[in-house]
Amino acid sequence: MARDDVKTGYKLIGTRPNRPDGLDKVTGRARYGADFSLPGMLWAAVVRSPHAHARIVKIDASKALALEGVKAVVTRADLPTGLTGEDLNLQDNTLAGDRALYDGHAVAAVAATSQLLAQDAARLIEVEYEVLPHVTDVDAAIAPDAPVIRPGVADYSVPEGMHGNVARYMEFGHGDVEAGFAAADVVREHTYRTEATHQGYIEPHAAVGQLGEDGRGEMWVCTQGHWYIRRMSAAVLGIEAANLRVTPSEIGGGFGGKTTIFMEPLTLALSKKAGGRPVKLVMSRSEVLRATGPTASASMDVKIGMKKDGTITAGQVYFRMQGGAFPGMSPIGEALPCAFACYDIPALKHEGIEIITNRPKAAAYRAPGSPMAAFAVESMIDELCRELNLDPIEVRLKNGAKNGSKSSYGPVYDVIGLQETLQAARAHPNYSIPLGPNQGRGVASGFWFNHGGETSVSLAIGEDGTATVSVGTPDIGGSRASIGLMVAEHLGIPYENVRVNVVETGALGVNEPTHGSRATFASGKAAIEAANQAIREMCRRAAAEWGIEPEAVEWRDGAAHPAGPNAGKHPPMTIGEIGAKMGSTGGPISGHHEVTAGGYGASFGTHVVDVEVDPETGRTTVLRYLVVQDAGTAIHPAYVEGQYQGGAAQGIGWALNEEYIYGPDGRLQNPVFLDYRIPVASDLPMIDTVIIEVPNPGHPYGVRGVGETGITPPLPAIASAIAGATGVRIRSLPCSPPKVLAAIKAAKG
C-alpha cells in the first residue's frame, strides 16, 4: 500500500496527542452557541406554523406587544423585498411570506427580557391561516391528483409533461444498457425507499445577534461556516456583508445541518427593532426536528444485470428525491453519481428527479445523497450475490473501481483505495467468524467525492519560536489537532508549540464551511503553504545574518541551516532564535495562503456487519461492526477512527430506527428524541476500524477527507445482514422491528 513517491517517516503525523480543546470540553468551559450572553441581552422565541400548507391571512401581535418586557416582533413585512433565487428561498425559510410551506415553518419572532416571557409572548401572537392542500410523501407528490404546491418551480432541466411538483431532472450514463442486460444471466429490478432522517447534532441551533440602526452588527453562533452565515444573513436582511462580524462558537455537532441559516437572521432583525440590544435565540429540540436539517427521502428504482461468475454487465437507476418545500435542496445531483461510483461497469444509465413537498427545507447531511444511493444499489448487488451464491467481497473486487477506472459519472479515477479496503475487509477476522442461528452478515462499500473549496489561512511566528495558525473552518471532530500536527511537522517544532485557532469573519478571507470532509484537507493544505511562506522568510532572515544568499539556506528540524558548497559554516539558527530577533531583523514573520483548494482525493470504504434478528419481535441486534476506509494519510489516527465510528453509528441509526413520520395532517409526529430515536450506547457494539492509507497525490502529506463516506455503507450492509439472518429483504428503511416482523411473517405465509 505504501507508495515510493510519498514521504513517510514522519515525526508527528500519525501520532495521537491530546486535542488542544480537550481540557475545555471535559471541564464545561468550552463555549457553545447557547453559552454566550451579553449585557442588556434579550431572548427571542419563534411562532411556527402548525399546518403543512396554509395561506397566512393575518398576523396580530398586539397582545404580545402589550406585555411588559416585550421589546420587538418581526414578521416577513419587516424584511426587504426583491430578493431572487436562493437568497429568496433563504428569506422564505427564515420567515414565511404569504404561505407557510411546512409544519414548523417560522411565521413571526418576538424578543423580550427573558426566555419565558418571549415564549409567553409568542403564544399571544395570533395568526389566521387558510389551510391549503398538502403533500409530504415523495411518491404521492407526483401522483396525478397531488396538489401542485409551488407552481413554476421547475428549472430549465425539467422536460415538459412532468408533474408540477418536479423541480429538477437529470440523466447521464454510458454504454448500451439494453445490450448489457441481454448479456447478463440474471437481471433483477426493484424499488427501494429511504425515509428522511435528521443530522441529529445534540446542540440545538443557537445565536446571539446584535444589529444597530446604522446597519452594523455582530453575531455569535454555532455553525459549520460563519462566512456562509454572514453572506446569507446579510442577503436576507439587505445589509452589507462587511458590516456583519460573525464569530463561531464551539460547535456541538453539525454533520452538514449547520452549513446554512435557519433562524440566525431573526436575532439581528429583532435586535435592530429593539434599539440595538443583543438578542439570543436558542431552538428547542422539536424546533430543530421540525424546521432544520433534515435530509431527503427517496424512492429509487434499480435494475442490475449480472453473469453467473459475478460480472456486472449493466446498471440502471431512476431516483425520486424530495428535499422539502424549496427547490435545489435534495441531493439528487450527488446521489446519482454516487450510485455506481464504487464500480467499473460497461453500461450505466442514471435518471432522477427532485420533487417538492410540504416538508422543511432539506440541508446537507454527511455525504449528501450517497447513503440513499448505496442503499438501493448495494442492496440490489447483495440480492444478486445471494441468488447466484457468490461472495459479496469477491464480486466487489471483480467489478470494483481501480486506479484509472472510468467512474460511473464520467471522469477517470486517479489514485483510489477501494480495492485495498475490500482486501482488508476480506482478511479481517470479523469476515470469517461463524454465524449462529438468526444471525446474518452484510457487506457494502461506499463512496464520497470529498471537497476542497475556498480556504484562507494565516500563520504567525511568535517571539519564542512558537506558531499561531488562524483557520476559518470550525472544528467539529478534532481538526485543530490534525492541522496543528501537520504545521508542527512542517516547521519541525513540537506539537505543543503550535496553536490553531478558529477565527471570526473579520480575520481572514472567505472560507467555505467545514463541509465535504474538507477541514483537515483544505485548511491543512493552506496552513502548510502558509508555513512554507514563513519558512522562506525565516531562511531569508538567517541568510541576512550570515551574509549569504537565501538560496544557500535550508530549513529542517525547526532551524535554518547553511546548505550547499558556498554557504560557509554557521551553526543552525533555530526558530526560537529567529523569532526572538525578528523585530530587529525586518519585523513580524507570518505566512498566509488563500486558495480554492483542488486535489482532494475520492474516498472509499467497505463495511462488514453481523446482526442477530429476534424472530419473535423483529428486533435487530448489531453483534459486531467493521469499518475499513482509505484515509490517504491518517494525520491523527484517533480522530480518523472517530469519524469512521461516528459515521457508522449514524448509518446504523438510519438503517434501523430513524425516520421522519408525517401524519395525514402533514404534521411531523415524532419531533422529540424519545420518538426520533438515534442510537444510544446500549444499541451498539464496539465498532472495529481499519485505516487504509493510499496517500492522496493532491495533498503534501497525502490526506483525504475522512468524514463522510462512513455513513454510506451501513444502510445496505445492515439490510443485507438482516436478509442473511431472516431470508427476507427489507427494501424500505428503516428496518424497524414491526417492519421486519411483518416481513418474516409474510414470508412464512
Binding site: T27, G28, A34, E250, R285, F673, A681, S682, M686
Partner: protein, 162 residues
C-alpha cells in the same frame, strides 16, 4: 407570577437566586448561576446533556424545577475537577472520547455516578448506564473504552491508597 427564593449548594459553594416557578434547574444553573457547562440538548429528558447530581442522585436537570433544588446539594461538570482533572476527564481526552464535546459534560457526570456505585463495570453495564446520554459523534466506542480505562486506574489508586 412572583418568584421563588432558592438557596442551595452547587459544587460545594452556597448559592441563592430567584426562580420563576416554571424555570428548570438547568435554566437556573445556566442563566442565574452562569454555569453553562451543563447543556440542553432536548429539554425532555431524552438526551442526558443536562445531567447533574442532586444529593448524589443522577438527574436530568431539564426535568427538575429550579425551586425543587432548594436546600439540596447539586454537583455539575464544573465541580468535577479538583486540583487535578478527575481520571474520567483525563481519560476522555487521552482516548479521543469526544468530538464536538457537547454531550461530554453530561456523559462525564453520568459516568462518575456509575463508577461511584460500580467501580468495576462490564462494557454492557457502562452502555446501559449511559443509554440516557446521547452522543451523535463518536458511536460510543471510545467513550466506553475511556470509562473502562478510568475505572481501572481508579481501582488501582484505591488499592494503592488502602
Amino acid at each position: 407570577m412572583s418568584k421563588i427564593h432558592v438557596t442551595a449548594t452547587v459544587n460545594g459553594d452556597p448559592v441563592e437566586f430567584l426562580a420563576d416557578p416554571r424555570e428548570t434547574l438547568l435554566d437556573a444553573l445556566r442563566n442565574h448561576l452562569d454555569l453553562t457547562g451543563t447543556k440542553e440538548g432536548c429539554g425532555t429528558g431524552d438526551c442526558g446533556a443536562c445531567s447533574v447530581t442532586v444529593d448524589g442522585t443522577l438527574v436530568c436537570s431539564c426535568l427538575m424545577l429550579a425551586a425543587e433544588a432548594n436546600g439540596k446539594r447539586v454537583e455539575t461538570i464544573e465541580g468535577m475537577a479538583k486540583e487535578e482533572l478527575h481520571p474520567l476527564q483525563r481519560k476522555f481526552i487521552e482516548h479521543a472520547a469526544l468530538q464536538c464535546g457537547f454531550c461530554t459534560p453530561g456523559i462525564l457526570v453520568a459516568a462518575k455516578a456509575l463508577l461511584e456505585r460500580n467501580p468495576d463495570p462490564t462494557d454492557t453495564e457502562i452502555r446501559y448506564w449511559l443509554a440516557g446520554n446521547l452522543c451523535r459523534c463518536t458511536g460510543y466506542d471510545k467513550i466506553v473504552r475511556a470509562v473502562q480505562d478510568a475505572a481501572a486506574e481508579m481501582r488501582q489508586d484505591h488499592r494503592g491508597a488502602a
